[in-house]
């Protein structure tokens, strides 16, 4: 993998012959994408960074307040609650999604009749968007819970496990596809050799199959982890973040099952219009958090590649 990259790097991907004629087309090839990128990403990114140090109601009228917003963000009880709640949710969902996805993928690669039909069915929820998923499940959960005179909105544990079930329903199929691709790339001879040497099915799974699909496992772990942290639509649609259980002095509320992304959204578009600067500071903290996870992921996948 590394070697191949070296060969394709540097001079071999461009030749002077081609370079000049392409370079003349700078405005056709690169400028449209880059211009949109400036509008859709670069400008809002830096503007957002700047706004996190300001107090503002509209973007045209801002006052610089230094790190005041960050101080407020870290002492905001709703934000801290959302952070720990999101972290707990992410950890539980990573473990459950990956265990189930790997199990299903493993069973489906055992030359089972109708494996394609099963695969089709398991993947299907991925095509339905988060908002619709949320309302489908809130109908089902409320159908069950209304018999016990409660609802998904009322109790934290129902909100938590309800969202976990929803995410399992959606993401097990997605991760399963990645695991199937990984499992299919393991040479069959390896398992056969292990079988001939007297390994049981379980032993060959632990010592032969899993080490060979480590890269898929890393990818799926981090994909589910970042998905868990960034979750918004499902959280909003399933129960809107749950019940407020604590009212803050500054006018905010702490909601039982509100996650980070939804908390940031409420700071911007909620009732308290003076909280926008704090909202942007929260967004920057959120960005640093997600970026850190992605960098660790990159490190992890790189080191795996070197080993192989």
């Amino acid at each position: 993998m590394k070697k191949k990259k070296k060969v394709n790097d540097g001079t071999s991907v461009n030749s002077p012959l081609l370079r000049r004629s392409i370079q003349r087309m700078f405005f056709v090839f690169l400028v449209p994408t880059f211009a949109a990128f400036v509008i859709g990403f670069i400008y809002p990114f830096f503007k957002g960074f700047y706004l996190s140090f300001c107090s503002f109601v509209t973007t045209s009228n801002t006052t610089f307040v230094g790190i005041e917003n960050y101080k407020k963000a870290f002492t905001d009880a709703s934000f801290m609650h959302a952070f720990w709640y999101t972290a707990l949710f992410a950890v539980v969902s990573v473990i459950l999604i990956n265990l189930l996805a790997f199990l299903v993928a493993y069973l489906l690669t055992m030359k089972i009749k109708g494996a394609n039909i099963f695969r089709t069915a398991f993947f299907m929820p991925n095509l339905i968007g988060g908002i619709v998923l949320g309302y489908i499940w809130s109908m089902i959960f409320d159908g069950i819970l209304s018999r016990y005179n409660t609802s998904i909105l009322m109790e934290t544990k129902y909100g938590f496990w309800g969202l976990i079930i929803l995410m399992l329903w959606q993401q097990v199929g997605y991760m399963m596809i990645i695991y199937i691709a990984g499992l299919q790339s393991v040479p069959e001879e390896l398992n056969e050799a292990a079988r001939i040497d007297g390994a049981t099915r379980w032993q060959s799974l632990i010592h032969v199959t899993i080490p060979n699909v480590m890269s898929s496992i890393t990818i799926c772990m981090f994909l589910t982890l970042t998905n868990g942290f960034k979750l918004f639509d499902q959280n909003l649609a399933l129960n809107g973040g749950g019940q407020p259980f604590k009212f803050l002095e500054e006018g905010g509320v702490v909601k039982t099952t509100e996650m980070l992304a939804l908390n940031i959204y409420s700071s911007f578009y909620g009732q308290n219009t003076s909280a926008k600067g704090v909202g942007q500071a929260k967004a920057v903290i959120f960005f640093v958090l997600v970026a850190l996870i992605s960098i660790i992921q990159l490190r992890a996948t790189r080191s795996k590649e070197v080993q192989q």
Binding site: N8, V13, N14, L18, S21, I22, R24, M25, F29, L30, P32, T33, F34, A36, F37, I39, F41, I42, P44, F45, L51, L107, K111, I112, K113, I117, F118, A121, M124, P125, L127, I128, G130, I131, V132, Y135, I136, M139, I140, G143, I144, S146, W169, I177, I178, A181, L223, K230, F232, D233, L236, A237, G240, A261, G279, Q280, V290, A291, S294, I295
Partner: protein, 280 residues
Amino acid sequence: MNSAKVRLNIITAILTVVTIIHISPIVMVLMNSFKANTFVKTATFAIPRGNMFVGWDNYIKGFTFGNYPIVKAIGYSATITILSTALILLCTSMAAWYIVRVNSAVCKIVYYLFVFSMVVPFQMVMYPLAKTADSLHLSTPFTIPIIYLGFGAGMATFMFTGFIKTLPLEIEEAAAIDGCGALRTFFLIILPMLKPTLISVGILEIMWIWNDYLLPYLVLDINEYRTIPIHIQYLQGSYGTVDLGATMALIVLSIIPVIIFYLTCQKYIIKGVAAGAVKG
């Protein structure tokens, strides 16, 4: 031999049961879309019959639910998805080819900016982006593709550059010697070779944009233009009693295009997901 066969049969049986449970939520939605509103909550799991059963009433209501025809929402969703995906595929593949073949300092900087954008969550740029889009008058379904191109450029360009790096240089050099210009080389030689990546990226973009809620909600003028997720959230999120039966009919109507798309393009969707995971 026999015990192995028995084992496979048991696994198949278990998987069949799990699969039936797995698709039951969709069956549930379908069932409840034929029930009168009051029974959706009290008798969610009952088969609609007798006084519960309302025939096509919910669908007729669902069509114009909330004074906004669902057909319009489906139309805007489709317009935005198709235009944005087409724009992203065309522009980012061109940009990727330029970046790989010119490979200058500027290209490298642009490339690393694209890669960087992939780790930035939407909430970071959400508020300034909505304001920028507003001040540039990009709040219609026909201009929002520019925002999608900008925010989605990172991943698409990254996937295209990865593939273009593996293409042999000799073909393009031969074309250049024969007097083929950059534009013709790209459209006649490069683009056909990019087909597998075009499909993978296209699938990932379609799945993202069709289901996206927050970006269009903040950018579009939602009294005028609503996508399906916006429409459903708007109806459910607003206060007052909501007709659950009609909502279920609405959900069924909005899922139908997705299921048709899935069943016809299943092979590509699964390939696209696997390819996207390995690259991303």
